[in-house]
């Protein structure tokens, strides 16, 4: 039985509230904001690059730091969205729609203030809600045995492949390729070598840090090197007086903020859906419920609240499936999954049984990170936008050097550096051909867990495949898997039938 949530929160606070953690949160939020404000450099890439740097840290500090980076990067995307019409991250795409027109109308500082305060309050309240949901999630996790964990893994891959990317089949190919890559090292029961191409680096397990860093960070460099500068727009004028005017505006719009936060929380909790989905859903809802919908997209401050309030709430929401089920709610949480494994925390239902304290520390760190974000963003947003005017040809070599040493650091192995670069090329080819990289990452990370659960289930059932259909939860998960796989084709058919019948009646 896991301890009471209140006791866990108090214990987690004891772990979190140290000077060391505050410093790492401050550094994490600032670094995240800085990297998140670089257009094209996503929160996922930022967390992926930071991953090897957390190696010497304890699990708690590492996860606190990465959570702070996640919060910072999520907000950082709003800065160029407001000031130069370019979202720094996918989650800030809807922010551009109203924030940049505000900037063009001379309200850039007010738009910045709105984005800062909406982000902070949305993220803070969402994290608070999730904190009190961890207890029921933990109790639910007790119902999962090896059989359910195996089916859950398959469902997770299917759900993520369907939700992320335009092409389900390509998403599934990527996911199952990830599972196959994870199954390349030795047989877990006999220790016999399977397919390691003679590389000792692949003998025990596929190192996921080089895979994650390669797919996300290195593949991005192939694009970034082609840009002379990230942005050539230097005409930026901001003032603190107007930034606080934006903060005051958000305080007068509590309903809009709570609605945005609620949408972000719900969308973020769905496996595979992320900030990019949430901020458009929230923006659309705000527009349709507004008395003046035509002003949305023309510089309506409520549009900025809708986008920023929701994408920051996704940060907390997306950690629910990640922590409780081992299924990431976004690309960044897929990297957070890797971070959990790197620091000895096994993602999935067992996490809430065995690492409930760490899960509480992560959520609490989001609360603290959001408070720090408020001060950091108010202090530096005005100036941070200069990052986007930095030449790409100075950023690319710096990132290359940091990722090389980062990949090397984990096992002091040059094999890992080569592996990272190989997956950088794989990531580039995948991106050019519309394959989502997140299912591949998920397959590599979850592969050993799924295989272990499969082998133990087969052992218990004397190799009876029907065992995987032998419990209510497993059956529900199988049904959900089938629904996830066929929901898009079925909805396409239904839409086609409705369209054809509508044509008939014209």
């Amino acid at each position: 039985m896991i301890p009471l949530q209140a006791d866990l929160i108090i214990e987690a606070l004891g772990v979190l509230l140290t000077l060391e953690n505050f410093i790492f949160i401050a550094v994490g939020v600032t670094f995240g904001m800085l990297a998140g404000s670089i257009p094209g450099f996503t929160g996922t890439n930022t967390v992926a690059i930071a991953l090897p740097f957390t190696l010497p840290m304890s699990a708690e500090i590492a996860l606190v730091t990465l959570s702070a980076i996640y919060v910072g990067a999520n907000y950082g995307g709003a800065i160029p969205a407001v000031l130069i019409n370019t979202p720094g991250t996918a989650g800030a795409t809807a922010t551009v729609l109203d924030a940049y027109p505000m900037s063009q109308q001379g309200d850039a500082s007010k738009a910045l203030g709105i984005s800062i305060f909406s982000s902070v309050i949305g993220g803070f309240i969402a994290a608070l809600i999730i904190l009190f949901l961890l207890q029921p999630i933990g109790e639910l996790a007790f119902l999962f045995t090896n059989r359910e964990i195996f089916v859950l893994g398959i469902f997770g891959l299917a759900a993520v492949a369907v939700a992320i990317g335009d092409n389900i089949r390509k998403g599934l190919v990527a996911g199952f390729l990830g599972l196959l890559i994870a199954a390349m090292p030795v047989d877990p029961t006999t220790g016999q070598r399977r397919l390691d191409f003679g590389f000792f680096g692949l003998y025990d397990s596929v190192p996921f840090v080089p895979v994650v860093v390669g797919l996300f960070a290195i593949s991005e460099l192939f694009y970034l090197i082609n840009k002379a500068a990230i942005s050539e727009d230097n005409s930026i004028d901001t003032s603190y007086k107007d930034i606080f005017e934006g903060v005051r505006y958000v305080i007068t719009r509590p309903v809009a903020l709570i609605r945005a936060m609620g949408i972000g929380l719900v969308v973020g909790s769905m496996p595979g859906a992320g900030t990019s989905v949430a901020n458009f859903v929230s923006w659309g809802a705000a527009k349709s419920l507004s008395n003046d919908p035509d002003s949305f997209g023309e510089g309506n401050p409520d549009g900025v609240i809708a986008s920023e309030g929701s994408n920051s709430a996704v940060t907390a929401g997306s950690l629910v499936p990640t922590l409780a089920l081992g299924i990431p709610g976004s690309g960044t949480t897929a990297v957070m999954l890797a971070a959990l494994l790197l620091h000895g925390l096994r993602p999935g239902p067992e996490l809430m049984q065995n690492f409930a304290l760490e899960a509480n520390v992560i959520i609490l760190s989001l609360l603290v990170a959001n408070i720090f974000l408020l001060f950091a963003a108010l202090a530096v947003s005005k100036y941070l936008v200069r990052v986007v005017t930095m030449p790409a040809n100075l950023i690319v070599p710096a990132i290359l050097a940091l990722t090389v040493i980062g990949a090397f650091a984990m096992r002091s192995s040059m094999f890992d550096v080569w592996l990272m670069f190989l997956f950088g090329i794989v990531g580039f080819v995948m991106r050019e051909n519309n394959y989502s990289m997140i299912p591949l990452i998920l397959g590599v990370i979850l592969g050993p867990i799924i295989e272990g659960a499969f082998l133990r289930s087969m052992l218990v059932s004397s190799n009876d495949p029907l065992y995987f259909f032998g419990s209510t939860i497993a059956i529900i998960l199988w049904i959900l898997t089938v629904v996830a796989l066929f929901i898009q084709p079925i909805s396409n058919v239904i839409r086609g039938v409705i369209a054809s019948q509508t044509d008939l009646f014209k």
């Binding site: 006999t190 016999q192 397919l195 100075l394 040493i405 670069f421 995948m430 082998l455």
Partner: protein, 172 residues
């Protein structure tokens, strides 16, 4: 839509040759199938079959899905109207992606050099190489950025984390 296609539409330039597109579009699924085939070749008959249920289940699903993707890709390629010959198309792709290709070569050389000449010297050479490929020519900025990163890596990884990156003949 790939960025190459997007560029074609945006600039209204002649469409790539089918062969060039095929090389790029089919590379990933074929690599997946190849990996699956190698896996079977490497394990079948050598490892007890009951231990291979899981990887072969994964391979079965992967092969099926990949074949469906391949069929769709081939159908799209068959209907593709190419306006360039293979060589012209390949040349244009190389020109479009010349910096990315240059970056790849410099990065490979950099990683390859780390063990023989040491991490810090290789990183200095690699960073200068990438900056030159990226179009930067002014020695001042090249030196400043290279210096900052090398100092940061030394402090963070060597001093704080206690990491020992490969050392070359000069001991650095």
């Amino acid at each position: 839509m790939t960025s190459t296609e997007a560029e074609n539409e945006a600039t209204d330039r002649p469409a790539h040759a089918t062969g060039t597109l095929a090389v790029f579009r089919l590379a990933f699924p074929i690599a997946g199938l190849l990996l699956a085939a190698l896996y079977v070749e490497s394990t079948y008959g050598r490892i007890r079959l009951s231990n291979l249920y899981y990887p072969y289940f994964v391979i079965g699903v992967l092969s099926l899905l990949t074949l469906v993707v391949l069929v769709n890709e081939v159908r799209a390629l068959v209907s593709h109207q190419s306006e360039l010959g293979f060589k012209q198309s390949a040349r244009r792709s190389i020109i479009e992606w010349r910096r990315s290709i240059g970056f790849a070569f410099v990065a490979i050389a950099y990683i390859w050099l780390i063990e023989p000449i040491g991490f810090f010297i290789a990183t200095a050479i690699g960073m200068v190489g990438v900056m030159v490929v990226g179009g930067r020519r002014d020695p001042l900025w090249i030196s400043i950025v290279t210096g900052i990163i090398l100092v940061f890596v030394y402090v963070m990884f060597v001093q704080i984390m206690g990491l020992q990156p490969p050392q070359g003949p000069l001991g650095i």
